[in-house]
Symmetry: C2
């Protein structure tokens, strides 16, 4: 067993070392060279769509044979339309500004040393995700644009699709004079490979888990390399006493139902007890479109056909047409509830009261706090970041939607003329 | 054993929860309130110096009885002069700009939502360090200024001094209307307390180890909470063929000998084989002031009275008047050696050749890369950051000297008028 693991760790060491060597070449590449590579990658995905779809059909068939859930099969499936999306996303990446080399700070020190802090690539980025072959292309593209090599662990359910896709992307890099080892998959090393990637220090510079809460918790708890935690989304919408009735209905409905399966969908609505009329409208609207409500004792007197909320429900990310409902006495109780159960992703208040709006912004601790807007706006594309590698719910390095800049580090450059310290 | 550990973890949970509650008050404090608290903290340290020095004398005596090394006893010792330094450092913190609330990015989205990204405190910052009672005051002050609560584990050697100091600082906070639990020590919980601080998720938002390589490795490997790795400093100075002879002697000498015991002191000099005359001058100057050279076979023919460098020496942080010496064929060999052995702290090239300078900057992967300047300039004070909590040698979140900004996170604020996503 120990021998087996050591051998896998050895393979991860070899793979990450090859990535590091390849990254040096990419680190010296100009923006034009990187953008040209992205264009060739896009063409290659387009040209090889038959092979990719064929591989995907095999993964889907295996999934069906294994009685995989429909939602997961849907995520696993590539279609011509989804491939079109991947091709155009690579094209859009090429059109984004290059973050590398940007000067962030700088000045002349009193002794004449000219100092500047510039953006540099992180180096080698690892990603662990589940049954989403589109993430393979997304992260590969974002990695290349930001000057990083990527190591991809896409999981056994999608391994045939990922294998073909990675092979197509590697060929595209080589055709463009860049090393193929900028993009490497480790699906064939299985779970042991994923574990070794998490624990082998000096391998990846950062590891990004993308997937369900279970996957993310596993990576965060087991990793010995730096991790950016993404996407845990138990978010709330608070309908304050002064909320505009129509905005409240629209924003809560949109936050819950626009796309319930994603991390920026709201999971709980908190309603001020004095906003009963608005609150009842909100809840009826949710129910009329099929949302199952998990209600506290007060809300149970406002609506019928709801189930009683359990303690567990307040911390549950339904990712489905279900929502927890709590009636609160005041904004303080709303903030206290959020503090207890929020995963710090996106928190929304609906209010027309200035001091309550300012208080919510100041006191609620989340990556994104919104006044009178749908939680669904927490998204790299909506924010205008152009590309998104995930939504960080941690406070270090990156918080909220992560774009190209969030995959960079910095370097201080000091240019002197023989200065010494006295 | 399990019960014992659980009980300590329970105490860490209570302590960090109290810190989090206290931090909410600090998070709402204005700059004026925080600066007033810092001023009172400075006065309190000044007024209680007799009690602090008395406590320190007890720690020193215990250290002597335990045959503690002189270098460690020196770090452990507080003097009137050192206390003056702590008092004035707190005063200087008050004069620095407040990073909290700074707007980093922002714009109006196409749908009219006004978006901004602002700086917020991290929340609860843990620090684990060894036998440096001055760090207790430094980190407490930097924590308050940046809006964070701090949990301090200063180690058993300094626990009497730290205990008195923390008590003085807590009283000062309360006298100023801020909660005492913004500053808490956990020395009395011993090693189990330090372990629980490292592993209790949801306790501290970031843990900063400050001390020797052993301490830092332990924290990085064992922690389950986010860590910022600081201060591992195997740094090199490369004397290129075109280096100015006098600048080379001055900068290498200063980099090694100005303060050999700290992380920005250089540990290895790499000399281009064509710079033999300059190189011999550099090495003789080092030897004449008592630096023991560990030389490669070529350098062994340049100087006498040196010892042969072992493979281990290239990776050694001497923190003393010792230096490794390697003669290289060209800049490529220098970069290759740095890549192999550097801890990514500070790397220096001495050259008058523009393309070599640019190549070194581009290819050497370190927090700070310098041309023709002493490695000793890698320092928050020298960089003009005003305060320094350590020097990060990792790539995530912060790289290089960490000041107040590096103890902050960000929050996105979106102000809408009922916008929903279509």
């Amino acid at each position: 067993m120990t021998v087996q693991l050591d051998s896998v760790t050895q393979q991860i060491a070899t793979i990450t070392k090859a990535a590091r060597t390849a990254q040096k070449t990419l680190g010296r590449a100009s923006r034009a060279e990187k953008d040209a590579a992205l264009a060739v990658m896009a063409e290659a995905i387009d040209a090889n769509r038959a092979a990719i779809l064929e591989a995907n059909a095999k993964d889907l068939q295996r999934g069906q044979e294994n009685n995989t859930a429909d939602a997961l099969l849907d995520r696993l499936q590539l279609t011509d339309e989804r491939i079109d999306g991947l091709v155009s996303a690579l094209g859009e990446l090429a059109s984004l500004p290059d973050p590398i080399g940007n000067v962030l700070r700088g000045n002349n020190l009193p002794n004449g040393i000219r100092m500047q802090q510039i953006r540099v690539p992180l180096g080698v980025v690892g990603a662990i995700y589940e049954a989403r072959p589109n993430v393979t292309v997304d992260i590969a593209g974002i990695g290349i644009k930001s000057g990083n090599a990527v190591i991809l662990r896409g999981g056994s359910a999608a391994e045939t699709t990922n294998g073909v896709t990675i092979s197509v992307l590697r060929d595209a890099l080589e055709a463009n004079g860049l090393p193929a080892d900028l993009i490497q998959g480790i699906d064939e090393l299985g779970r042991d490979g994923a574990n070794a990637l998490m624990t082998y220090r000096g391998g990846v510079d950062v590891l990004i888990p993308r997937g369900g809460p279970g996957l993310i918790r596993t990576v965060v708890e087991q990793a010995a390399v730096p991790v950016i935690e993404t996407g845990a989304g138990v978010g709330h919408v608070f309908v304050d006493a002064s909320a505009d009735p129509q905005k409240a209905v629209d924003v809560v409905f949109n936050s819950k139902t626009h796309r319930p399966s994603v991390c920026n969908a709201a999971e709980t609505v908190l309603i001020h007890k004095d906003a009963k009329e608005t609150g009842v409208n909100v809840l009826n609207t949710l129910q009329s479109s099929g949302v199952l409500l998990h209600v506290d004792p007060t809300a149970a007197t406002w609506v019928t056909d709801a189930v009683a909320a359990t303690e567990e429900d307040w911390a549950t990310e339904y990712l489905d047409m279900e929502m927890s409902v709590k009636i609160v006495d005041d904004i303080a109780e709303a903030i206290e509830h959020v503090e207890m159960y929020s995963t710090g992703h996106t928190e929304v208040i609906l209010t027309e009261n200035l001091s309550n709006a300012e208080r919510y912004i100041a006191e609620v601790d989340a990556a994104v706090v919104m006044i009178n807007a749908s939680s669904r706006f927490t998204d790299g594309g909506q924010f205008g970041l152009g590309a998104e590698i995930g939504i960080s719910t941690q406070k270090l390095h990156a918080r909220g939607p992560m774009g190209l800049e969030e995959l960079t580090s910095t370097k201080w450059i000091l240019r002197g003329d023989g200065q010494i310290r006295h």
